[in-house]
């Protein structure tokens, strides 16, 4: 994990997941896109939701969900407002 200063997004790379990556055969590029909202905005989280909402969920917990999707996490960027995950089948 690299984090040069406060407030700078943190990058974590999962190098083990990239060793045998191979897309030499024909690959289905078109994606499935799912967007699930639980509130109209980050400032309108319902009563009972944790302060950071979905961002309070650990990466390990999301990994379990992604296993069902058949995706591995290649790297993550964590920032104050959004966490971004680079994934691969």
């Amino acid at each position: 994990t690299f984090s040069p200063s406060e407030g700078t997004p943190q990058l974590t790379i999962n190098r083990d997941a990239t060793i045998d990556l191979d897309s030499s055969n024909a690959f289905e590029g078109p994606e499935k896109l799912l967007e699930v909202w639980f509130a109209p905005s980050p400032k309108d989280l319902p009563i009972g939701a944790k302060e950071n909402g979905l961002k309070s969920v650990s990466a390990e917990t999301w990994t379990g969900m992604l296993d069902l999707v058949n995706c591995k996490v290649l790297s993550t960027i964590e920032s104050e407002h959004v966490d971004a995950y680079l994934l691969s089948e």
Binding site: T8, P9, G29, L34, K50, H81, D83
Partner: protein
């Protein structure tokens, strides 16, 4: 594939033969158990009791190139719709441009949540998605590993040469290569990762200074690290310039700055060439920016065909603003005019013929689909 986790929503976009919908139930359970979102109402099914009730669900995909390879509910659009219908009520499914010649299937579910969907969204909200096929082969080559390595070596050599010249001029400094993370970018569009190019022991050199006699070694991680090479490609092909720091953030982007993203997925091989670009960076109110972004991205890949889907809140869209004219408000007419200008520019992408345009009217949102073919 990529996933963006905001406090209030999650975006998951996966390619290949991934089973995206099979993760949805777990996602709702996670939202309830780990994030504290309210669970669904009384229900005899235990699984549903511990699942959060979503505010809105949106699912879409382009026609698969190899549908027979898909698994689970993704074997057909019919199965996907049924899967979602079994979980949620009040959903609507669409095919664009139409069921006879579908290019993109879309299912939108507005879950009744006790509040008006459109009013609940704060500020302008829009998502632009460009899906491209039949990429021009020379442009697609930029995304091959050997091409990326060659580009990285060229860039490194140039940087090293410049550093050597500075050293020869007596300036003597340790060179650093700054790279921005490519592919997915979270939060701000400027995310910098800095890593050392040179490594010298202090016993051999003067505190790490580069001297004219130094032997320059090409770091192995720059040759094999997909992320670093992706950065090189992103800069070389122009993706990093889609939102140049000289212009962004503009006033409107600043309002949404913490929550903006863009993501690019590329499959460059000729037998299945494909690229997608998705962003929620709002188009400028001058009526130019969205079309500029489309032209910029399309010019990078030069596809034979592509579709543009603009999903935006009614307070934002040209179609939505038409409705405000009913009040004869001067400001409404002005903003509606700007929105119409923006919309009309998207009808004319250089080098392409706009073949189809479809508008879907949802609660609080408009979805405008356009399909283009190379002239």
């Amino acid at each position: 594939s990529s996933m963006f986790v905001f406090p209030h929503k999650l975006i998951l976009k996966t390619c290949g033969t991934t089973t995206l919908l099979l993760g949805l139930r777990r996602m709702l359970r996670i939202a309830a158990i780990h994030a504290g979102f309210p669970a669904q109402g009384c229900n005899s099914v235990e699984e549903v009791k511990t699942a959060a009730k979503p505010y809105r669900v949106f699912y879409s995909r382009k026609n698969f190139l190899f549908p027979e390879k898909q698994q689970g509910p993704h074997r057909s659009w019919k199965d996907e719709v049924k899967y979602l219908d079994d979980m949620f009520l009040n959903g609507s499914a669409y095919m664009t441009p139409d069921a006879e010649k579908p290019i993109t299937e879309t299912k939108v579910l507005n879950i009744p949540h006790g509040s008006v969907d459109g009013d609940g969204v704060q500020g302008p909200d829009e998502t632009l998605e460009i899906l491209m096929t039949d990429l021009e082969p020379n442009n697609a080559r930029q995304f091959y590993l050997d091409h990326a390595v060659a580009a990285a070596e060229s860039k490194y050599a140039k940087t090293a040469l410049e550093a050597r010249k500075r050293a020869e001029n007596g300036l003597g400094e340790l060179s650093r290569v700054n790279s921005s993370v490519s592919g997915t970018t979270a939060g701000s569009t400027n995310t910098d990762e800095t890593f050392d190019v040179f490594s010298h022991t202090s016993s051999d050199h003067n505190g790490g200074l580069v001297t004219p006699d130094d032997e320059i070694s090409f770091p192995e991680e720059l040759c094999t690290e997909g992320h670093a090479l992706g950065t090189v490609v992103s800069e070389g092909c122009g993706l990093s310039d889609v939102y140049p720091t000289s212009k962004y953030p503009d006033a409107r982007t600043k309002q949404a700055l913490p929550h903006i993203y863009f993501t690019v997925h590329v499959t460059p091989e000729p037998q299945c060439s494909y690229a997608s670009f998705e962003t929620n960076v709002p188009g400028c109110q001058t009526g130019r920016e969205t079309a500029d972004v489309i032209e910029h991205v399309v010019d990078i890949f030069k596809p034979g065909r592509f579709s543009v889907t603009l999903f935006e809140s009614k307070t934002n869209s040209a179609e939505g603003r038409e409705l405000t004219l009913l009040g004869n408000s001067a400001s409404a007419m002005k903003t509606a005019g700007a929105a119409r200008l923006r919309s009309s520019r998207m009808e004319n992408i250089p080098g392409y013929r706009r073949v189809d345009r479809i508008v879907h009217d949802f609660d609080g949102y408009d979805l405008v689909f356009r399909y283009y073919e190379r002239r």
